[in-house]
Point group: C2
Chain length 225, copies 2
């Protein structure tokens, strides 16, 4: 059954081309060329460009989110009857994606670029796609943050979650911007170092939100800034 291998080759090629040029910038011709097949065959396997795009996401997102949830549930199970440290929760959220973008063996690097682009894109197609794939996991981690950070409000847990994701997204894309702005002092590629700094930064931010209630903001807006 050569069909499955062909499907995978097309998905790999599409992932790479979509990552480099975006949905509208990518062409079925260039994807076909990159996959070493002809254009008609892509339509045979995936119907339309739109569906192909969706399948590229679905293939990876399921895997990553499974690993995140697995880590998260294991953390809470092991910490019974207490709760795990915040650092571990944030690590469970961020490590799978950061690692995927830096895995030299697999094509995940391209998916990481693609996801980084789509996550902040404002066109309806991207927004719907991201929501479908990632809103479920967001709810679970927001809930976990609330259980682990004492005194944090629901709203602050949501803001904190979105901040963590906001920090992590450009890291996934490995733009090399940190290395550039630091004349090489920052190493984009070092998973351990990147992850440690991100976790440190994010947890400090979340705990600060937990220490400050909403009423403080509203009552003393001038002093709060």
């Amino acid at each position: 059954m050569a069909g499955e291998a062909t499907r995978a080759a097309i998905l790999d090629a599409a992932e790479r081309v979509f990552a480099d040029r975006g949905f509208d910038g990518a062409t079925m011709r260039s994807i076909a060329e990159a996959a070493g097949v002809n254009q008609g065959l892509i339509h045979y396997h995936f119907d339309s460009k739109e569906r192909l795009y969706g399948e590229v996401f679905a293939r990876r997102a399921g895997d990553i989110n499974d690993r995140r949830i697995e880590r998260l549930q294991w953390l809470f199970a092991e910490a019974q009857p207490g709760v795990p440290p915040l650092e571990k929760v944030i690590e469970a959220l961020l490590r799978p994606t950061i690692e995927l973008g830096r895995d030299p063996a697999r094509g995940g690097r391209h998916y990481a670029k693609l996801l980084a682009t789509a996550a902040n894109a404002t066109d309806l197609r991207s927004i719907r796609l991201i929501r479908r794939q990632y809103d479920g996991i967001a709810a679970q981690f927001i809930d976990a943050i609330r259980r682990v950070v004492p005194g944090i409000s629901r709203a602050d847990a949501v803001w904190g979650y979105l901040s963590a994701i906001g920090i992590a997204i450009p890291l996934m894309a490995r733009t090399g911007r940190a290395a550039e702005l630091s004349d090489g002092a920052c190493d984009d590629e070092d998973v351990t170092s990147v992850l440690e700094r991100t976790i440190l930064f994010t947890c400090a931010g979340l705990r600060a939100l937990g220490r400050t209630t909403d009423r403080d903001f509203r009552t003393h807006p001038q002093e709060a800034i």
Copy 2:
């Protein structure tokens, strides 16, 4: 001289259409229609789609960055011989963009969406464009962070700056995701509230980076996480 008004109308329309559909998704036809002019006139004023895109960015980026630098220099001048609080520095960085995206009177909302999309895009066109417009300001704020956060390394200042920007970018786009994930508890549109939380979160993260040196990371990677 109706030419200038026409130019502005085309730029406004292009800003809106590019923000909604991206560079490749936007068409010269749709921009012309949105501007109330014909397609040929756009080429008369801006030569090509590529140049039009560049001019849309240049028009706003200069203005925003001027306001950021103005605030920053004023802060340091006023604090002499000391330095201003970190909170003020981060506010100077973030307020102009957050406000622009929420200004109901001007078209800045569309530019904010456009910038959010381009900032994390991985195609070469977007990367070059962002670097040209924003690398200069980045260097100045990284320098300011180093002067204001005691004990922070240059690398951590760069990571911290990029984290702050990473958090702010999705806020600019006003996707409504926070409101959605919190069942309305978070208000994306409230500039004051968004800015206060972001500043609180970011400053806590930066100070945490300042307290932890690089050597700690490398020596005890297990405990650090």
